[in-house]
Structure formats: C-alpha cells, structure tokens
Symmetry: C2
Subunit: 215 residues, 2 copies
C-alpha cells in the first residue's frame, strides 16, 4: 500500500491549513488505495484569525495541536519525520503554509522556510520520491527546490515570485494538475482559484492519482 505523509499548517484557511483541501487530500489518498500519516511542526501559529471578521484574535495557538483537529488526534511532530518511511509527501494549502510553514505571506521572495519543512522536502526530493502541493503550497517547493515546474493557477503576483525562485510557472484552471515528471513534483491550484468544494475534490483526486503513478 502506498504510504503518504501529509503536512498540515494549522486548522483553518486564514491562519492554518485549508480544511477542505486537507480533508479531500486524505479522502483521495484512501479512495485511491493508499494510506496516510499526518505531520505538523510543533510551533506557535503566526497569529489567530477570526474567520468571520478577518481580524486577529488576542490569543496563541500551536500548529501541531490545531492540526490535530483535522487529524482526529493521530498526528506526529514534523521534527520526527523520516523520509525513508513514506512513498510520497503532500502539502495541502491554506494561509498557514505561507504564515507558519514559511513566511511568504509577509516576506514574499525573502521568505524563510521552517527547518523541518525544508528538511522533509529536501530528503524526499533527494530520494526521488514524489511531492505534491495544493493551492499556495507550491511556493514552498519553489523556494526550497528552485528549478522545478509547477502551478498556483493564474495569480500573477504569486507566479512572479515563483519565477524569481527559479521555478517555471504554468497556468491552470479548476481541477488541473501540473506534473513535473523529471523532478516528481505535482501541483494543483484549488482555492487559489474561486473554486467550489467539488472542484477542490477534483484537484486533490487528480493530484493524488498523478503522485501514485510517480511512485
């Protein structure tokens, strides 16, 4: 059975993992005959956003503890991730990727990447194991790996940043995936477009199928 490590960044689109993308990624992995384990870094969230008002809330939350809500408690600290144990690595999207896993939301091309996130990406890449990224997550791969081919849909600002990292951006629409066969990188835009939840399901499913063909 193909075993996938899924990395979360919190629990909620505006300060953590996008919940539909995370859930539909897990669903697609199992529906396509695979299994998953879930990881997140054990760090404080950049901030906590009230998802109704968009305002910052005066409290602190931990990325691993909040991600555990999506994982139903079955989650591991990303610091313990061993690339040898998995066939593939997938990053669902959400602002948490650009706020907690790296600082792209604030620092654009000068962003820093969490060291455990960077190590997981580099280790899988060096072992020629496929890596998938949904929504905004491809920026993480572009920052760490540079010369890869990927998509974030058709947001010009983000595509420009991706090119400055040395990566090639290909425009895509709902449910489409870009497969960089040479580097074993699969990406899909999901909520980087104004999508329905059914289109998110299509994107996640197409991404997982493409990943499984690269294993």
């Amino acid at each position: 059975m193909k075993k996938v490590a899924v990395v979360l960044s919190g629990n909620g689109v505006f300060d953590g993992s996008e919940i539909h993308e995370a859930t539909l990624t897990l669903y697609s992995i199992v529906k396509n005959g695979g299994s998953y384990e879930i990881f997140a870094p054990n760090i404080e969230q950049h901030h906590v956003i009230n998802h109704i008002t968009g305002e910052t809330m005066p409290e602190k939350r931990n990325v691993l503890v909040e991600s555990a809500r999506i994982a139903r408690g079955k989650i591991k600290d990303l610091a313990s991730f061993k690339s040898g144990d998995y066939d593939a690595l997938i990053f669902p999207g959400g602002f948490g990727v650009a706020k907690n896993l790296c600082s792209f939301a604030f620092d654009n091309i000068d962003c820093k990447v969490n060291k455990d996130v960077e190590k997981a990406i580099r280790d899988m890449f060096e072992q020629k194991k496929p890596i998938g990224a949904l929504c905004i997550s491809p920026v993480l791969l572009a920052k760490v790996l540079g010369h890869i081919e990927l998509t974030i849909g058709h947001d010009k600002g983000t595509a420009d940043a991706i090119r400055k990292f040395g990566a090639t951006h290909k425009e895509t629409n709902h449910g489409e995936v870009v497969i960089d066969k040479k580097n074993k990188i699969v990406t899909t835009p999901c909520y980087m477009l104004d999508a329905t939840i059914a289109q998110i399901g299509d994107g996640a499913n197409n991404l997982v199928k493409a990943i499984f063909e690269l294993i």
Copy 2:
C-alpha cells in the same frame, strides 16, 4: 438547485464538528448538484479539548467563530435560520453535537437541546422537509422528534438512549443509511463506527443522495 442548510457545532471531533464528516457532507451536496449554506449557534463551546492529549485547555472558544473555519468565513448565526429558505437540513457529527448543540454527552436522556437547534428541526419537520443526521447527530433528532426511525451504527448505550426518546433504532454498518420515508429523516453512522475517511465519504454521499430523493 436543491438548497441545503448545514448546521455545525464547532471545529474538531472532540469538542466541535467532526471535520471529515462536515467537509464530506458539503462536498457531497455540491457533487450531487445542490448548494449549501452553513449555520452554527452563536454560543460559547462547552469546553476546548487538546486533540492530541484529550485534555481540557484553559481557554474559551465560540461555536460560530470556530465553525467559520470549516465554512471559510461564509456562515450565519443559527438564530437567523428560516426554514422556508431551504429544501433540507443536515447535521454532521462530532462531540460538538452532544456538547454544544445539546447536552447528551453529559446528561444522556435528560439532555437539553439548544433552542435554535430545536426550532430549526421542528420547523423543517413541520414543513415536511427532509432532515439528515450523521454519526451522533441522530440523538438530537430523537430527543426533539421522538417517534422516528434512525441509526447511530451499533453502539448499545446510545441506541438504548435513542429508544428511551421513543425512537426506533436500526443497526447499520459503514456507509449505510436508514431512511424514514414517512418522517423524511435520513441517518448514517460514520465515525460512530471505526471507519476510514473513505467510508465517511460513502456515508455522507449516500445520505445526501437519499435526502435529495425526498425533496
């Protein structure tokens, strides 16, 4: 287009809505050609559970604000729910149903039901519009409506309580639904069983299909 109101109870299986059930319900509604609006009561959560340790955390969270994370901000206070605007009502599961929407987790058959939740159920029932409930949510319907036919899988304690409410319990397995045609109630056990996320998707999809046939 069939329009469904979905009622959430927070964001996380142990103190709110079960995230996979909630997400896969929304996904099934859209995949089957419907649309949804999301509601939650504007009340404080009973408590906040650390989903890794299972321990209570010393903080307060609001059911509507946390549910908004699953809804990507598009959510309404359940106090504003108008049954005339919707063709069906669905309750995903999670302990939040038994802790925030009613007090079944603490008071068993003596539980109290949130007044806006009770009104939404009664209004839809009186207008002969279908109501769906996943996982533990059927207890809510049994408490409010009494003589209906439903399932929570095969948990003896919960089934006994449901019978004491005057309802009839039918045992089910993964993905199966019980359809009470006379009362237009559809239920499925989901994570009341030791299920995979793919089985949750099957249950949610079968429930939504059955609901749509009753509209």
